[in-house]
């Protein structure tokens, strides 16, 4: 198995990979970066093989790492060894997890979604925090959601922070990105109940008449959902807010609602 070694920070490959931490470079290259053996193993087992595998010198051997390397080579990808401190500079983490991979981004259009694939879907509108977005992907995996739909100007699900927070779910959970004006006609072209947490004409979220496939929508961290988005919902639900604040963290709200819907419509 052929491996290339890199020793210097000025190496063009190192520079190109490191640049993938910035959105503009990710979008131009159509590629993104993920790190850690567990994440990359989740990816491999989901059929996502990195085009480029970066391994720290002096790492401990591991059967999953060997399997990863074999899969990359079999798929015609490249394997590179480099000093640990160089890998740390690429991933921006003090303690890099010995391995990182560069993946080609995949298409994420509504047309690729199969709405029969899940009784429950998560929809994020203009969610700006990549950590929240990754956490929603992780929750979507946990509740067995059909997928996650990102509406309007969301954070990049392929950012290092989102990939990390997703704990691998970015590789396993179907993902679509769309504008509201395209999403709504798509939704209405088939079965699907759109719900949101709201204070407008809402019913208590416990025991609300959820129906599969149920699309749970949460909005921007600061502004929430636009009023017309809320009013387009089939069901608006309200969660108890017993303190001073009038809202939950967006990823938390999505999860509390999703688990309630799961208990109602089944997984």
């Amino acid at each position: 198995m052929s491996r290339r070694s890199i020793t210097g920070f000025s190496n063009p490959t190192v520079k190109a990979v490191r640049a993938l931490r910035e959105k503009k470079h990710r979008k131009r290259e159509g590629r993104f970066l993920a790190e850690g053996l567990r994440l990359l193993t989740d990816a491999r087992e989901s059929g996502r093989i990195p085009e480029l595998l970066l391994m720290a010198e002096g790492r401990e051997g591991h059967p999953l790492l060997a399997a990863l390397e074999a899969a990359v080579s079999a798929a015609g990808g490249e394997v590179i060894e480099l000093p640990e401190d160089l890998l740390a500079k690429i991933t921006g983490k003090d303690n890099p997890q010995a391995v990182a991979g560069v993946f080609a981004e995949w298409d994420a259009g509504l047309e690729a979604l199969d709405r029969e694939a899940g009784k429950l879907w998560l929809v994020a509108q203009a969610m700006r925090d990549p950590g929240n977005l990754g956490t929603m992907l992780r929750t979507a995996d946990a509740v067995g959601a059909g997928g996650v739909i990102l509406l309007d100007d969301c954070a990049d699900p392929f950012s290092v922070e989102a990939v990390r927070a997703s704990m691998g779910a970015v590789f396993t959970v179907p993902l679509a990105q769309a504008r509201w004006e395209d999403f709504l006609p798509w939704l209405r072209a088939g079965p699907g109940q759109l719900i949101a947490a709201s204070l407008r004409e809402a019913v208590p979220y416990r025991g609300a008449p959820y129906a599969a496939p149920c699309f749970v929508m949460v909005g921007n961290e600061s502004r929430g959902l636009p009023e017309d988005y809320e009013m387009a919902c089939d069901l608006r639900v309200t969660m108890p807010m017993k303190g001073r604040a009038d809202s939950l963290n967006a990823a938390v709200a999505a999860a509390v609602l999703a688990y309630e819907v799961l208990a109602s419509v089944g997984g």
Copy 2:
């Protein structure tokens, strides 16, 4: 009302305040930094007045800002005006929210908690992510929790990130920090059901026999709870995990459980 103006980055006050972004300086000074009119207003309405109020020059006037300034002056605190870019350097935010405050930290011992104050409590063990910690505080406010108890080596609840993620709940939700070996005797000295999400001899989290006051405990982001902590619980519950992963984000798990407990024992 007297105000002092600061124009340079080398000013000792600016340096001292900026240093509060680091934990070692916060602990040495016993002070922390919070930013934004909404956060500082939550603090004021909860009786927490900053010792030092920093206001950007050229900000828009606002009745809440005037109320804040008056409260600081009345309490013998100091008000400082400074250029917006200087405030940005202090808070580390590109768009500072025109106002920031320096607060004295307060005592956070178990003995200050009143377990009759809430039917529901959140307990975080060795939680390392300040965003998760702040989010748990925000959730605790929302479910009307008696407070949040931080066990063992948690992230600092007074870090800028935790304060920000708490959306003001750090000022309003009672908080205690303790070691497990002190917490358990305190808990057992009175009524209190300790519960955790677990895979060990657990019952489904829906409809589990929750009893107030119920202490919902979640563990470290990577390692979860130590086994002996789980086994010390009165009730271990399990949440559906329908995907590849075997855990939720810690703040999400706490919230899903907390809302279930709330529905069971009432707020």
